[in-house]
Each structure stands twice: as structure tokens, then as C-alpha cells.
């Protein structure tokens, strides 16, 4: 038999109020801490860089750190502040709700005594308006705060078409199956898979695709932005430190989606100017008979119909090879750019990258030697 009296109702309701007040207090303190912490990040710059809990996750022998908690640009710094804020709120709610659940599970387990004595049913509580209103309004407040913080960060980070900074360097990013093309319209430079940019200068990205949807993602420098055919997305980043940053395609684009890497090489201003100058001049330069034979092979077979070499061929389907040897990797950033790897690649691309659009042209070993001899002069 159950007692459904008002008194017991009140007792339970009071317990709820205590818990809700605790939640508010814990949440308030957490909120306060985050605001203070958030300001500290702004004042003492290197906190995010030098100490992030994500370091705990990274294996000590890992060469690359592509964590989305590391910030190496003003844009990511802005995003990380929001990230930590949201982590804190979600973590707080997690602790409160799972704590309440565990508490209730242990507190209200049926005891052995209750089981043996077959005591009747517990108090039937049909609901409580103040409590239900409270746990509707508190989430609304939390959600409102989150929403405002989100909108503020969107406004700060996401550019629209007209937001290009005056001093920005424009890079057209074009996704291909399965490699990246980078065009610098102001510098008359075209390259693949490795994007060179100057430090501390805003980079204006115009992202598109030549075939299916890809996504440009270099976690330490900026969030991801999709590369969509017949549609340009505008994106902006500023690298703060010289170095190389790893990224990769983040939208499934078919067979070799996994091998579509991006390396962003950040150089100081003079270094970048030197690189751009080198890239803008033609590199085709016959130094020996072997190289000459190699160029003939390159022109005789289908190579030249897809690959461009400034002054020699004009294909646009595949990566521009004008300065092939200035790049550290090839095949979508998959393997190191060495003469031996080039030979193996030309012999049969599918052995290295199954599904690749580059066909095996069935060159003789001699022809492969010759064409690679030519390619390694393209510095």
C-alpha cells in the first residue's frame, strides 16, 4: 500500500531544490573560472601553446601533432577559447547528471530487507511543477550563453566574400581526387600538396574542387572548410610561427581519401619571397643527353597531356611538375619525393596508391631512368 501524501511530496521536492541550487552554484563557479581563465588566455598568450591537456594524448614518438586543441594562428586561438568554454560546461553538466544518476542508483536500491519483507510500493510521485520548471529554465540559460558565445566566435572567425584583408596573400585551393592544387594568382605560381605561405601575413583561401567534394583541414592553423565543385568557399588563416603543419582531406572523396595530405610550410618573409621567385621562373633546363631523352619520353607518352611543365607542356588534370623537386613529397603527400620513389611510381602508380588516376604507361626500365633523370632537374 502506498502513501501518496503531500508531506512526503514536499520532502522530495525539497531534496530536488537543494540539488538544483548546488548545480547552480557549481555551474556559477565554473562559469566564473572559465571567464577568468578565458581572459588569462588572452593576456598571457603562450598558455594554450605551451600547456594543453592534449599533450597527454599524444604519443611521445609521434612526429606530427594535428590536435584540434593546439593553436598556432589567431583564428584557432579564438576557436580554442570557445572550445574550452564548451568543454567546461559539458564537463560540468556531465558531472552533475552522472553524479545524480549514480547517487540515485546507490541511494534508492531496493534493500535486502525490503525484498524479503515484501514491503509495499514506494511513494508515488506524479511530478512537481516547480522542479520541472526549474530544470527547464536552467538549461535554457545555459544554452543561451552557449549560443551567444558561439555566434560571437562565428562572427570573429568566419569570413564572407567581402572580408578579404588588404594585405592578404590569395591562395586558390583546389581539391582533386586525390591531391591538392595550390594556385597563387598574384604570384603566378602553381604547386601541389605543399602550400607555402609567409608567416604573420593573412592568407586568403579561395577553396574549390575539380571533381567531388573534399575538405581542406589543417587543424593547427584553421578549422576545416569544404571544397565543393562549382562553388567557392572563402576562408582565412594567419600562421604565427615558421614551420611545417600537417593536414588532410576531411570529406570522403572515394578510394584514396586517406592519402590526400596537406603540408603547409610557413616561411619567414624573405624565405617566402625567395621561394615565390624560384617558383615563378621556368625550371626546364637541358643539362645532358640523358635529360634530353627524358624530356622526349615525357612528351612522347601521355605524361604531358595531364602534367604541366612551364614552357614544355600544359596539362591541368594532374599536378604541375614545373618545380617538382622543390617538393618534399608526392602522390598526394603520401611518399617522400626521391628519385627511387619516382621510378617506382612511374612504373606502376597503383602499386603505391591503388585507385590513382595516373595510369601505368608501360615504359621500359630505360625510359623510366630517362624520364626520372629529366624530372629531377625540375627544381
Amino acid at each position: 500500500m502506498s502513501e501518496q501524501g503531500n508531506t512526503s511530496d514536499k520532502v522530495v521536492t525539497r531534496a530536488w531544490w537543494v540539488l538544483i541550487l548546488t548545480t547552480l552554484v557549481v555551474g556559477g563557479v565554473g562559469f566564473f573560472l572559465i571567464v577568468v581563465l578565458g581572459n588569462q588566455i588572452e593576456v598571457e598568450d603562450p598558455i594554450v601553446e605551451n600547456f594543453t591537456p592534449t599533450d597527454l594524448f599524444v604519443q611521445p614518438d609521434a612526429e606530427w601533432n594535428t590536435s584540434v586543441l593546439v593553436a598556432k594562428s589567431p583564428e584557432t586561438r579564438e576557436i580554442r577559447k570557445l572550445t574550452w568554454f564548451v568543454f567546461a560546461i559539458a564537463g560540468g553538466i556531465f558531472l552533475v547528471v552522472e553524479g545524480l544518476l549514480l547517487y540515485a542508483i546507490f541511494r534508492y536500491r531496493r534493500t535486502k530487507k525490503q525484498r524479503l519483507e515484501e514491503t509495499g510500493e514506494p511513494v508515488q510521485l506524479y511530478g512537481s511543477n516547480p522542479v520541472e520548471i526549474a530544470w527547464t529554465i536552467i538549461p535554457i540559460i545555459i544554452v543561451l550563453v552557449l549560443c551567444l558565445a558561439t555566434i560571437r566566435t562565428i562572427q570573429t572567425v568566419q569570413p564572407t566574400k567581402n572580408d578579404r584583408p588588404e594585405n592578404a596573400l590569395t591562395v586558390e585551393v583546389i581539391g582533386h581526387r586525390w591531391w591538392w592544387e595550390f594556385r597563387y594568382p598574384e604570384l603566378d605560381v602553381v604547386t601541389a600538396n605543399e602550400m607555402y605561405i609567409p608567416v604573420d601575413r593573412p592568407i586568403w583561401l579561395e577553396i574549390g574542387s575539380a571533381d567531388v567534394i573534399h575538405s581542406f583541414w589543417v587543424p593547427e592553423l584553421q578549422g576545416k572548410m569544404d571544397a565543393i565543385p562549382a562553388h567557392t568557399n572563402y576562408w582565412k588563416l594567419t600562421a604565427e610561427k615558421v614551420g611545417t603543419y600537417l593536414g588532410q582531406c576531411a570529406e570522403y572523396c572515394g578510394n584514396q581519401h586517406a592519402n590526400m595530405l596537406i603540408r603547409v610550410v610557413v616561411l619567414d618573409e624573405s624565405g617566402f619571397d625567395g621561394w615565390a621567385k624560384e617558383q615563378a621562373r621556368p625550371a626546364d633546363n637541358i643539362t645532358s643527353e640523358q635529360v634530353d631523352l627524358g624530356r622526349k619520353v615525357f612528351l612522347k607518352y601521355a605524361c604531358q597531356s595531364c602534367h604541366a611543365v612551364a614552357g614544355v607542356s600544359e596539362g591541368t588534370y594532374a599536378p604541375d611538375l614545373t618545380h617538382l623537386m622543390s617538393r618534399k613529397t608526392f602522390a598526394g603527400g603520401m611518399i617522400p619525393n626521391t628519385p627511387d620513389n619516382l621510378k617506382a611510381w612511374i612504373d606502376d602508380p597503383a602499386q603505391i596508391k591503388p585507385g590513382s588516376d595516373m595510369p601505368a604507361l608501360k615504359l621500359t626500365p630505360q625510359e623510366i631512368e630517362q624520364v626520372v633523370a629529366y624530372l629531377v632537374t625540375l627544381k
Binding site: 500500500m1 522530495v12 531534496a15 530536488w16 594524448f57 599524444v58 609521434a62 612526429e63 606530427w64 601533432n65 590536435s67 584540434v68 579564438e78 576557436i79 570557445l82 572550445t83 564548451v86 568543454f87 559539458a90 556531465f94 552522472e98 545524480l100 544518476l101 540515485a104 542508483i105 534508492y108 531496493r110 514506494p122 508515488q124 510521485l125 506524479y126 512537481s128 530544470w135 538549461p139 544554452v143 549560443c147 558561439t150 566566435t153 562565428i154 572567425v157 571533381d211 567531388v212 567534394i213 583541414w217 584553421q222 578549422g223 576545416k224 572548410m225 569544404d226 565543393i228 565543385p229 568557399n233 572563402y234 576531411a250 570529406e251 570522403y252 578510394n255 584514396q256 581519401h257 586517406a258
Partner: protein, 558 residues
């Protein structure tokens, strides 16, 4: 009028039905209970297949630069895993429970359209089989035979003829399209049944929450599925009739598919979780020995979620370059949906608060559901903050997130439901001992699998990559996920063994083994063909409580 001789027990030669008779009975049945069980059984069968596909995925990713599956097989595996789990496991199992339980819970004899019901099931089953036939039947002209490999959301223009020359995408379209018709039929059937066939006294606000969740799900199916079907027909036009809805080269739009797909896809997520809310809302009160806390708010929250779920689709598209104002709108809308969801969680907590909790297996799973669903819900809120979503969308963080919702959430609720209603369906109890082992192994296994995925996502691992380099620091987290898969596999084997052995020699259940309160427990286990004779009449939300406590009935308080 001829007078037939009165048969004596010995005179008629009634042998037990042979295998053919029994198969015939199941194939031709229009009984909602049999069809419900067929739905659930086929769903669990596909669950095994989808689970094996997940095994190939985890095997391939267990170490860096691994080579056991290769890109082609791997891409087929994640596509089939996702498609199977959403369309051939989630929907049929949940709608199957709806099919079985709704007529019993509202005190009627069958669904409103029994033959449509049977049609729906067979269409779903053959749609699923058609999809799987692609493994052997999709030989294309260009050596591209095999299962679909475009991901379960099949973004255009990857699905165009240019980039997919075999027939595997056509199998994906037709298989899902056909089984989608089955789901729509069931959705309509559920809505009509619930609105028209409730027993005497069963007003809308006296229906069990489970029935409410099925009503809402039915509406969502009716609204969301046709959009997918239309988009798939458009895609077929593109592929066969030279249309160019999704062909950007000819002024089609690559993004149109995403809008259409996610306008279906997000309500679909709620189609997969709202019935789970229904199961939990039935199981938690019974094993807490308390009435559901805040019934009215629970119903309001369900309907609120359903409406809201239709205005959040573009949160799957924060990285496609929508204007900032649209990003802000969809973020706000997504945040807002957290409120009714929070209300539900709090009301479950309110129900167990002050109860007398009995931890039979269904209750264990229900508690596991709440604990895991909260994690998935919170990472969902994190994903709604657009800038953070730019960081982790399409990464393993998202994979971890939705597995906490759909595995820790939906599948835990399904296990709870199987353990709770198996006695009603078969008259036998499942083994509690095996069930509890299974629960703890599964809980550990799922956290071991899907927990580290959040970390590998944060470390920058995109989803759907078949390989990753050893210098990225991703190995340990992927290895943990793969070990977790094996742990879960043990739990699933235990479950299968439990089902088979309990079906053969499980303890007799009796009509009302859990001392529960809703109408399905008022009839026999398993129920007779016509469910109730005579049809019941109710006065409150818990008719069996009223019967068991005549001195203190519910209707005094509602």
C-alpha cells in the same frame, strides 16, 4: 443444414504442424505480433552482419599503415555498416517493437491495416536483401563490382556516373528506396492505429509514453522518409536519364543533395532515438516501482523534439560554407533541442528518485542507456558550437559521438526492451545471469571502443580513412578501439546464446513477470491471436496499478 459429427479428441488426427506449415504460417501472417517479431528478428540478423562489417573496419584500423582490407573493401565496409545499422537494424527493430506493442498497449486486436503491415515488412526485408545482393550482383562495365562505397549519406557528386561507374550506387538507391516504402507503410499504420483504435477510456493523455513515442515516430517517418525517397529518385534520374540535379558541371548543385539528405537525415536520427526514449520510459518506472515523473512534460518534450528535429538539419553542414547567419540559426536551433532532451533525462532521474530500484537486466540496460546517452548528448551540444564543429566535424570525434547516441543509447534501449518484453513475446524468461554478464561486458566494451574515438578525433583523425601513417600518434587510440570491438563481440555472442537457449528451455514467464502496469501485461504470454477477450477499458495511465491497488488507484491523482 447438415449436422457434423461432434469430434472427440481421438477422432481427428491433429498432428503438430510440420516445418512447412510453420513457415507458411509466418510468411502469410498479418498478425501484428508475428510481424513485429519478424521485424525484430530480421533487424537483429542484420545487426550481426553490420557488426561483422564493423569488425573488418576495426581490424584494418588496428595498426598504422595496415593492409588487411585495402581501400576498396574498407570503403565498402563502412558504407554498408552505416547503411545497415541505420536502415536495416535501427528502424526495423524499433518499428518492430512498435508493431508488437502498440496494439497491446492501447488495448486493441491488431494494427489498423494488417495487410499493409505485412506488405511493409516484406518490402523492407527484400529491400535489405537487394542491398546485400550488390556484393555479388553489381558487376559493372568497368570492373567496379561490389557493394556501395560512397558512405551511408552518399554525397553527390561522388554518386554520379562520372565517379561511380558500376551499379553499386544503384543498389544502394534501390535497396534503401524499397525498404523506405516499408518504413513509411509502418509509420502510417502506427499513426492510424494509435489515433483510431484505442480501447475504451484510453484518451491520448492516458497512453503509455511508449505509445506516444511511436505516434511521434510514425509522424516523423511520414515526414522525413519521402524526402529521401524523392532525392533518391532524383539521383536515379541523374544516373539513368541524363538529368543533372546534382551535377555541378551542368548547373546542378552538389549541396542540394546534402540539404535533401539531411532534411531526412536529422529527423531520422530522432526516429532512431525517440522509440528508445519510449522503451526507457516504460522500463524505468516499473523497476523503480514508481509512476513516471512528469508525464505531461515527457509528452510535451517528445513532441517538441519531433518538431525541432526538422529545423536542425544543416548542423551536419557547418563546414560546407553556409553564410554565418545560417550557421548561427542552425546552431541555435540545435542548442534548443537540448532542452526537451534534458527534460526527459531529468524526468527519468525524477522517476528513480525515491524509488525502490530493482536491478533486473532491463533496468541495468536502462541505467546504462541514461548514462551513455548523456555522454552522447553532451558531445552533441559541443558539436553544435559551430567553430568547434569546424575542428572536429567529419573526424572520429563525430564517430564517437553518434555511437554513444546510437549504440550506448538506441542499442542499449533495444537490449533493455528485448530483456523486458521477451517474456511477453515467448512466454519464457531470458537468463538473468547471462544478461547481467552481457551488460557489463558490453558497457566496458563500448566505452573502450567509442571513448578513444573522441581522442583520435581531437588528434586530427578524419573519419573514413582506410589507413593512417605511423607518425601521427593515432595508433594507441585505434588499437584500444579495436580491442573494445572484440570485448563487445563477446557480449553479443553471449546475447545470441541467451536468446537461443532461453527460447528452448527458459524459465516459464507467466503473464506478468515484472509486476508491471501497462495493458500488454494483462493478457497471456504469448498473447492469443486476438490479444484481448473482451477488450479492456481503462481509467488511468496505469490500468494494472489500478487493478492491483484498488484502494489507491491512479485516477485519483491524474
Amino acid at each position: 443444414m447438415t449436422v457434423l459429427p461432434k469430434p472427440t479428441s481421438g477422432a481427428l488426427n491433429i498432428s503438430p504442424p510440420g516445418i512447412l506449415e510453420r513457415v507458411h504460417e509466418w510468411v502469410t501472417t498479418v498478425d501484428h505480433k508475428k510481424l513485429g517479431m519478424l521485424y525484430i528478428f530480421s533487424g537483429l540478423f542484420f545487426f550481426l552482419i553490420g557488426g561483422i562489417e564493423a569488425g573488418v573496419i576495426r581490424w584494418q584500423l588496428a595498426s598504422a599503415a595496415n593492409d588487411v582490407a585495402g581501400p576498396v573493401t574498407y570503403n565498402q565496409m563502412f558504407t554498408m555498416h552505416g547503411t545497415t545499422m541505420v536502415f536495416l537494424v535501427g528502424m526495423p527493430v524499433l518499428l518492430g517493437f512498435g508493431n508488437y506493442l502498440v496494439p497491446l498497449m492501447i488495448g486493441t486486436r491488431d494494427m489498423a491495416f494488417p495487410r499493409l503491415n505485412a506488405w511493409g515488412f516484406w518490402v523492407f526485408l527484400f529491400g535489405g536483401l537487394l542491398l546485400y545482393f550488390s556484393f555479388i550482383g553489381s558487376a559493372g562495365l568497368f570492373g567496379t563490382a561490389g557493394a556501395p562505397d560512397v558512405g551511408w549519406f552518399a554525397y553527390s557528386p561522388l554518386t554520379s556516373r562520372t565517379f561511380n561507374r558500376g551499379n553499386n550506387v544503384d543498389y544502394w538507391i534501390l535497396g534503401i528506396l524499397v525498404s523506405g516504402f516499408g518504413s513509411m507503410a509502418t509509420g502510417i499504420n502506427l499513426v492510424v492505429t494509435i489515433l483510431c483504435l484505442r480501447c475504451k477510456g484510453m484518451t491520448l493523455m492516458r497512453m503509455p509514453i511508449m505509445v506516444w513515442s511511436m505516434l511521434v515516430t510514425g509522424f516523423l517517418v511520414m515526414i522525413a522518409l519521402p524526402v529521401l525517397t524523392a532525392a533518391q529518385v532524383m539521383l536515379l534520374f541523374d544516373r539513368f536519364l541524363g538529368a543533372h540535379f546534382f551535377n555541378p558541371q551542368l548547373d546542378g548543385s552538389a549541396l542540394l543533395w546534402q540539404h535533401l539528405f539531411w532534411f531526412f537525415g536529422h529527423p531520422e536520427v530522432y526516429i532512431l532515438i525517440i522509440p528508445a526514449f519510449g522503451f526507457i520510459s516504460e522500463i524505468v518506472p516499473v523497476f523503480s516501482r514508481k509512476v513516471i515523473f512528469g508525464y505531461t512534460m515527457m509528452v510535451i518534450a517528445l513532441v517538441w523534439i519531433a518538431f525541432q528535429s526538422m529545423s536542425v538539419w544543416a548542423h551536419h553542414m557547418f563546414a560546407v560554407g553556409l553564410p554565418p547567419s545560417l550557421n548561427a540559426f542552425f546552431a541555435a536551433s540545435t542548442f534548443l533541442i537540448a532542452i526537451p532532451t534534458g527534460i526527459k533525462v531529468f524526468n527519468w532521474l525524477g522517476t528513480i528518485w525515491g524509488g525502490r530500484l530493482i536491478f533486473h537486466t532491463p533496468m541495468l540496460y536502462a541505467m546504462g542507456f541514461i548514462a551513455m546517452f548523456v555522454i552522447g548528448g553532451l558531445t552533441g551540444i559541443m558539436l553544435a558550437t559551430v567553430p568547434f564543429d569546424w575542428d572536429v566535424s567529419d573526424s572520429y570525434f563525430v564517430v564517437g559521438h553518434f555511437h554513444y547516441v546510437l549504440f550506448g543509447g538506441t542499442m542499449f534501449a533495444v537490449f533493455a526492451a528485448v530483456f523486458y518484453w521477451f517474456p511477453k513475446m515467448t512466454g519464457k524468461m531470458l537468463s538473468e545471469r547471462l544478461g547481467k554478464w552481457q551488460f557489463w561486458i558490453l558497457l566496458i566494451g563500448m566505452n573502450l571502443t567509442f571513448g578513444p574515438m573522441h581522442i583520435s578525433g581531437i588528434l586530427g583523425m578524419p573519419r573514413r580513412i582506410y589507413t593512417y601513417a605511423p607518425d601521427r600518434g593515432l595508433e594507441i587510440w585505434n588499437l584500444l578501439s579495436s580491442i573494445g570491438y572484440l570485448v563487445q563481440f563477446v557480449a553479443i555472442v553471449l546475447f545470441a546464446y541467451n536468446l537461443i537457449s532461453s527460447l528452448r528451455n527458459g524459465r516459464k514467464a507467466g503473464d506478468d513477470p515484472w509486476n508491471a502496469w501497462t495493458l500488454e501485461w494483462a493478457t497471456t504470454s504469448p498473447p492469443k491471436d486476438w490479444n484481448f477477450n473482451p477488450l479492456p477499458a481503462v481509467k488511468s495511465r496505469r490500468p494494472l496499478w489500478d487493478a492491483k491497488h484498488p484502494e489507491d488507484p491512479d485516477y485519483d491523482y491524474e
